[in-house]
Symmetry: C2
Subunit: 350 residues, 2 copies
């Protein structure tokens, strides 16, 4: 398990082995590798190299007389090579075209993200997901109250970037529709253009003041606004598509049954996925988490490819979850492309 830098040739052998294993799913023999173009050496030499790679923990043998398969560490090295080499050559155009086809030219925010998860699934054939940024920093445009029943109101909030969200709020007492309209006018006049987080703070501050003012209209407006804004932090919108890919038994059952179970539970409780990503999403660009690198032991059987989009505190994420033996090169391209495309959509709409 030494970490001496690998020679160029050794790295080519490792990459070749990983690619071959991803393609076939079978342990790779030295004879197979030396038949590959690019490294003109005999199988005996390959065997020496493979023995070194095994010492270093990059490959392993299921049993003595079998070929080698990559370990999670081997995948990691391979993926790092990929990420290095494609720093310059990103191409989002094909994914972006698909996304535009799916979502239209100026989609609503939630439609854009659900389309993104769908496209990711279609292109990668793995579970695709898209996560909205926290609403905290979204720019408040307008609020509108639609009376539903005597004491119930549908609150529609519109934020910049075609970002529409709805919520039903129970106000204890019946309120006149005209009062609701006035309340909305008041809020729109006061707060339009501010980040939602600021709006919330201002609303709370005013509610403190109003206690002594006895202005009924403002009171209703502010209380409705408070209840609406309360929900903002708690749940992040998550869009997932392609769960069926997890049970796609092309040749082998991509992931184990217990991993499958964990993933399906994650799809049910989407917030768990958000939590999972929080741990890995810090920098820009594509992040890859492979098998044993997962903190949750149940997820050791699968890999995660994720990229963030947006800037500053308005960051969301798109990505793919699939078996450790996945086509990383392709998947990384696709996820990166999707992140770029989503970011571009959002920029165009400001």
């Amino acid at each position: 398990m030494t970490s001496a830098p690998l020679s160029d040739r050794t790295r080519r052998v490792l990459a070749s082995l990983v690619r071959e294993y991803i393609d076939t799913g079978e342990p790779v023999a030295s004879a197979v590798l030396c038949r590959k173009p690019g490294l003109g050496v005999s199988s005996a030499t390959i065997r020496n190299i493979l023995a070194q790679l095994e010492d270093m923990g990059y490959v392993s043998q299921p049993h003595t007389s079998a070929g080698r398969i990559p370990t999670d560490l081997g995948y990691r090295y391979y993926v790092d090579m990929l990420l290095d080499s494609r720093r310059s050559t990103r191409d989002a155009s094909s994914v972006e075209a698909r996304l535009r086809e799916q979502a239209g030219d100026a989609p609503l925010f939630d439609h854009l993200l659900s389309s993104a998860s769908h496209v990711l699934f279609e292109v990668s054939h793995h579970l695709g997901f898209a996560i909205a940024p926290s609403d905290e920093q979204a720019i408040f445009q307008r609020i509108e109250f639609v009376p539903i029943s005597d004491a119930r109101v549908l609150v529609v909030t519109v934020a910049r970037g075609n970002h529409v969200s709805q919520k039903v709020v129970d106000i204890g007492e019946p309120v006149e529709p005209s009062a609701l309209t006035q309340a909305a006018n008041y809020l729109n006049a006061e707060f339009s253009g501010l980040p939602l987080a600021d709006v919330r703070q201002l609303v709370l501050a005013r509610l403190e003041q109003e206690r002594t003012l006895y202005d009924r209209l403002r009171d209703v407006a502010l209380r409705l606004a408070r209840t609406t804004l309360e929900g903002i932090e708690t749940a992040t919108a998550v869009y997932i598509d392609g769960t069926s890919s997890l049970a796609d038994a092309g040749d082998a059952p991509a992931v184990s049954l217990s991993t499958l179970h964990t993933l399906l539970r994650m799809v049910e409780e989407k917030q768990r996925l958000v939590k999972l990503l929080d741990a890995y999403l810090d920098g820009p660009g594509v992040a890859v988490v492979i098998g044993a690198e997962h903190q949750d032991p149940q997820l050791r059987g699968c890999s995660l490819v994720v990229a963030s989009y947006g800037e500053g505190t308005r960051r969301g994420a798109v990505g793919v979850i699939g078996p450790t033996r996945m086509q990383y090169s392709r998947t990384i391209s696709v996820v990166d492309g999707a992140a770029v495309a989503v970011a571009r959509f959002l920029r165009d709409q400001n």
Copy 2:
């Protein structure tokens, strides 16, 4: 495969065998059955009866020296006995209590149904679902237009029974907010209290007339209404919870991987589930579809327990999908209870 009526004792043996198999998952031996209380005969007699049952296709042997397991036909006979015997003794109270706890006292329609699917999953530990009735016959209460961007409007439709639905509509040209309010007022005054299907017809009829009238306000109102009502028939709302149960490997992997794949695809394209149910949902009460009775060969590995709620043309459905080897008795109770509970909720809100 004769269909002579079974003697009382033979039926008790079959029922006992099915129950035992559902409990253990192992082929049931004659010796095991004769130890059960209720039928005081020796194992040899049981063997004779089992041989008859096998001739008739109700049970089968995995191999010569194994016990018997029920065939799908055997499950069918057992389930029919269950359905017969519980005609009178339905008890929805426990499910209803859970549903009330989950959904609150006067939930919105979609929240009620998603709670129903959740409760069905929790109680049965199988995939639970709830399907909304067609909107066609819902009684229109109010429509409201919320401007989102220059040429885009969020249309909120409220129907009787806390049934709120939203849709974003693109109108080609920018429209003044005040015009939208007037348009909504016009539509509400004209159509409130009518079934949605009638509203749609009336809207189309008026649009024909208006062609010659050149009243811009009405024109906008009617065109918005038409676009909104267009979507009504196409998609039925479907709520699903508990997909993870399908991969719950307690002892055996409940359903085969290919069945699992089909079911997950059905969860993705929910309308396929609606289509599936159309074939089975005609009468009132609980319907059970077992294994090979499914038209789709991919679904042969699982069973469906479903009950409809509501009356006349306002019928929806709730139900459960699980392995053929499921606790039918319990599941039927639960699904029946859920249907009764949902119906009661809806009745209380009119």
